[in-house]
Amino acid sequence: MKNRIGLVVGCILIMLWCLLPVAWIISLSFKSETAITNGSPGFFPSDGGGAGWDNYRAVWDNEQFRRAIFNSIGISLIATLLSVIVATLAAYAIARLEFRGKKAVLTIALAIAMFPVVSLVGPLFDMWRAIGLYDTWPGLIIPYMSFTLPLAIWTLSAFFREIPWEMEQAAQVDGATSWQAFRKVIVPLAAPGVFTAAILTFFFAWNDFVFGISLTSTENARPIPASLSFFVGSDPFNRPASLLAAGAVIATIPIVVIVLIFQRKIVAGLTSGAVKG
């Protein structure tokens, strides 16, 4: 009995921990700009200090913000797609084939996952300007791909190891061609893993900030996190907290939707690559 109460309290604490700041930023996004300028220290909008949907409308009418959302969605999706294709090839090779250099691949991937991103920004900034990739979509897609590859390769190879590959031969014995065997047996088994890797890759690209602020200078390619940090409203001396909060909420929606739909897969993906004895 005592245990049960402890668990319930624990669960409530976890939920509070996870959701309180989210509730706070949502509440902030509904405060009016005048309330913010005058100071509004309460958790919820005070009487008459609410703004309804005004902040959301204002943010959405902002051309730069819309561009940034569009950039983020485009860049993250392309980087995810390409990174997952490349990682699938590599993970398949690691999980199924014996070849020289296999250890080296895993070591390189591990080293890159630990790499301090900022220390690459200077040289990349210089190189990208020299070859014309600075402030373009590919200029962000390429670094995102290389930095999401380690995670994607680990997750995928962990998944691929679990696939009973003998089933492919069994299908062939039963008269399927090798392509049919691969498509009908292996692809459905591998798909969840590929999908998980894609979600995690998308999270990384969507969250990136360092590349976003260093390798872009205009709204050509600036993604949403960078754009939010440079966001100034009509009054450049007063950070428009409530507008920013509305922007932040909009930028969070895609992630929350993905989490709601795929939570089981994400947990499996995060842990399967990491802690396999």
Partner: protein, 308 residues
Amino acid sequence: MTAPVKPAKAKPVASDRARAETRLGQKLVAPAIVLMLLVTAFPMLRALYLSTFDYALTAPDDRSFVGLSNYLTALTDPLFWQTTGVTVLYMVVTVAVELVIGFIFAMVMHRVIFARGVIRTSILIPYGIITVVSGFAWQFAFSFQNGFVNGWLPFVGDDFNWFGQTGSAVVAIMVSEIWKTTPFMSLLLLAGLAQVSEDMIEAAKVDGATWTQRLTKVILPNMRAAIMVAVLFRALDAYRIFDNIFVMTAGAVKTESISFLTYRQTIEQFQLGMGSALSVLLFLSVLVVAFAIVKLFRVDLAQARQES
């Protein structure tokens, strides 16, 4: 339906076949390797080269070779050591707090039978949220004009300015960092907990071990690999702390981390030579941290991470 055929996992008999397999394997991993090295190894070598120049983008024609003097300047500057100190402080405190809270969360999630989906979904929300957004959320929460923190905490005045001095500003940044990354830690620990055999815990219980004894003698030793991996990954991540500082204080009141200093030199002040030297130093210090943790805890990465 035939009985599952179990051909012995093709141990290469013919060396021709082994060579073909090697070729195929290398061909399949080549794109990944090329991409990873293109954006890391090549720029790193370039940073090494640039770091020996006095080279500012604002005056590209004045570029001159200065040997190791950029490193000397950095290493003798108190600012460099101060940012390194703050960075280590961020790393040690956040990882320690996260380990404790993350472990408690993992224990709760491991035992709980009801509302599993809801809890897992909520714990993924901080993980998924953009760091910049969580930085803003916490910055506004700690703001004395528009935040609720001062009102909720009994021991600080309502007009206490958290971002006015180093100590409290560092605390605010750490809170944001801890909030955002504890879920990651607790998920890794949860996976570790799942691998501790229930039978052993039951056996200890039958033998009359107290809860504390079961925790320290059975559960924790069996989770060693998981704990080490979680600590290593979070520590290296925390050492690179950047986003939260950028958003919350922009490096003011000595909250600057070594990543932030590097960024400021390179991108804001266009000092590519000096920035590159700092990049190399940052990279080397990450290696030192990684090496220290691996040695200290004797983590066998290959075993914990991949090669079963």
